[in-house]
């Protein structure tokens, strides 16, 4: 019998990090995700596993600490919320450009600017289209429960190391702050330095006579080499799109209409589906679990079955662009959302469905 605990989403991230054998966490306080750093500091993981936890002087410093640790082959991560994630974009593009694995957690709050401390999903574009400068992508996982906050830490590191690419957990203030039952996994031991040398022979672990010196950089002044490198990155992203698409479907078998929503919005849509079906409206839900890669192929299939799609996002409508691209505008795709930290109610979502399609 697995251990069960009642935890906040942010605490689940922190405990999962320790249990996943993470070597280093570098963070900076920001609402609504400060519990990640607070939990880690209280838990003293250096005593449990030897994990390093450091409160940096800024989000910029924190992500660059992650860059350093990742370049040296360690399992390292940071977490923040929207304004802090904007600050981290410089480091994230360097990490993507140097092809390093790491985990970034964004517990999204409403924006733009300092915005609000309430939950939102308005960082979708920033998360799935790159975020910083240059042509790059992150592997983006969108948890819809506290259990998924926990489980996706391990999954994110698995994918990050598989593809030598930064992974992002795109959560929001609701999932970060709410408490749910979590099944706790067993402790995975941290990698030894010898294991790191074997698994990540590219890492800066100190030049030994048996290999050339290892260099971690995103710089190549030769434009032809830089273009070749960009092609290599793009090929990697196509490989990720081929292998790593994850999504969940709820009551799509007989659906005539479809909600597409991730994270908190997808939970609201589940209630809206119950209300709609009680009124005889056959609606289902496709919940992308990976936002990059996006479940475009499955959406295209579903577009041949349903009469219309309503994307539900706590934003002005960002993911809707990817949904429209996926279904090639073959059927009507509409958006319903609230902004500024407001979470839509199931009744509002149902009304939006009815007004758009019935």
């Amino acid at each position: 019998m697995k251990e069960l605990r009642l935890m906040k989403g942010n605490e689940a991230i922190a405990e999962a990090a320790i249990r996943a054998g993470v070597d280093g966490y570098f963070g900076y306080p920001i609402t609504p995700q400060s519990e990640v750093l607070e939990y880690l500091m209280a838990e003293q993981p250096e005593k449990r596993t030897g994990m390093v936890v450091l409160q940096a002087e800024s989000e910029v410093a924190a992500i660059n600490m992650v860059y350093g640790g990742a370049g040296a082959g360690k399992k390292v991560m940071t977490s923040s919320s929207s304004p802090g994630i904007s600050l981290k974009q410089e480091g994230i593009t360097y990490i993507a450009g140097a092809e390093l694995p790491c985990l970034i957690v964004n517990v999204v709050r409403g924006g733009p600017g300092l915005g609000t401390i309430q939950p939102a999903q308005s960082d979708y574009f920033q998360s799935v289209k790159g975020g910083g400068h240059g042509d790059y992508r992150l592997i983006v996982l969108a948890p819809a429960s506290v259990q998924e906050m926990y489980d996706f830490v391990g999954l994110a590191f698995e994918l990050a190391f598989k593809y030598r690419n930064p992974a992002l957990i795109l959560s929001d203030g609701a999932i970060g702050q709410m408490m749910e039952k979590v099944e706790i996994s067993d402790q995975i031991p941290r990698w030894t330095n010898e294991e790191i040398k074997k698994m990540s022979p590219w890492a800066t672990t100190g030049k030994t006579p048996d290999r050339p010196h290892n260099i971690i950089t995103s710089l190549d002044l030769d434009p032809h080499k830089q273009e070749d490198f960009n092609h290599k990155l793009q090929a990697k992203y196509r490989e990720i799109e081929k292998n790593e698409v994850r999504f969940e479907e709820i009551q799509t078998e007989d659906a005539e209409y479809l909600f597409v929503a991730y994270g908190t919005s997808s939970r609201i849509c589940q209630k809206s589906i119950q209300m709609a079906r009680a009124k005889g409206i056959k609606v289902g839900l496709l919940r992308p679990i990976t936002l990059f890669p996006f479940p475009s192929a499955r959406l295209l299939e579903l577009s041949k079955q349903v009469k219309g799609i309503l994307t539900v996002e706590m934003s002005a409508g960002q993911m809707i662009e990817d949904v429209k691209l996926a279904v090639r505008c073959s059927i009507p795709v509409e958006h319903y959302g609230r902004m500024g930290g407001i979470i839509p109610s199931p009744a509002e979502v149902l009304t939006a469905l009815e007004q758009n399609f019935l």
């Binding site: 450091l54 370049g71 260099i215 710089l219």
Partner: protein
């Protein structure tokens, strides 16, 4: 007899007075002739070679003229975003406390865009070495005003000379970090004469040796020239440095461990 001596007779181990540091790669240095970076690189590499710590050392290159330091140094290195080298070094040293970790940074990198990272790494007392090459100008970018550009000094963004009232004062980062409890050893050196090189070497070696003690940052500033950015010939640039830079950035130890 003299005419019978051949090269073969001369090139012998016992006659060797100087050789290329083995930790230099085969890549030709990209620095301008007369620039101090090549010498500063050599002193770092000689130190690592003499201490026998090549396999235990991780270096961080900055953005600036020494951005490609990793191409010349035959050690494992990472290239940091502009100013962020002390953040990378912090993480690497904490994750590998048994390794030797150093940053190699210029004045724009360390004293402008990386001020926060520098001060906080120094204040936390990270057990790292920071090599700070200060030539009072942005060299790589093409001779723009740096935080260390002297009052009245001309650059491409202070073409009539640095006017303190509108452009602010030059920043003495080395004196500043010496005030912080997390720095263990702080010194300012130069590499323009054989005597200065010997002193700078001693300082750099001291800084690396200090990492064994776990007592905080060892910070070595090297005041250097930028003949291209200063628009001077190498000899003239060194003379100008002695006459103008040294009075403002005086050479010598600023903070020495009490037990030394």
């Amino acid at each position: 007899m003299a005419e019978n001596i051949t090269n073969k007779d001369i090139v012998k181990e016992e006659n060797l007075v100087f050789k290329k540091t083995s930790l230099f790669t085969e890549k030709p240095l990209s620095y301008c002739p007369g620039c101090g970076h090549g010498t500063a690189h050599r002193l770092v590499l000689e130190t690592i070679e003499e201490m026998g710590i090549q396999s235990e050392t991780i270096g961080i290159a900055p953005v600036g003229c020494s951005v490609l330091a990793y191409e010349f140094m035959d050690i494992d290195m990472q290239q940091a975003a502009h100013g962020r080298a002390p953040a990378l070094a912090t993480a690497i040293k904490r994750l590998y406390p048994e390794k030797f970790v150093f940053t190699y940074q210029g004045d724009g990198d360390l004293a402008a865009i990386g001020t926060a990272e520098t001060i906080h790494a120094c204040n936390r007392g990270e057990n790292i070495v920071i090599i700070f090459v200060n030539n009072g100008i942005y060299g790589m970018t093409g001779g723009q005003m740096a935080p260390t550009t002297l009052p009245g000094m001309k650059s491409s963004t202070s073409p009539y000379g640095r006017e303190v009232i509108s452009m602010g004062n030059p920043l003495k980062m080395t004196e500043l970090v010496a005030q912080l409890p997390g720095t263990y050893y702080v010194t300012r050196q130069a590499v323009h004469t054989p005597g200065a090189v010997r002193k700078a070497k001693k300082a750099i070696k001291q800084a690396f040796e200090n990492q064994k003690l776990n007592k905080g940052v060892s910070f070595v500033e090297i005041v250097s020239n930028c003949n291209s950015g200063w628009k001077m010939e190498p000899v003239q640039a060194n003379e100008w440095m002695v006459e103008n830079m040294f009075p403002f950035y005086p050479l010598g130890d600023i903070k020495v461990p009490a037990e030394q």
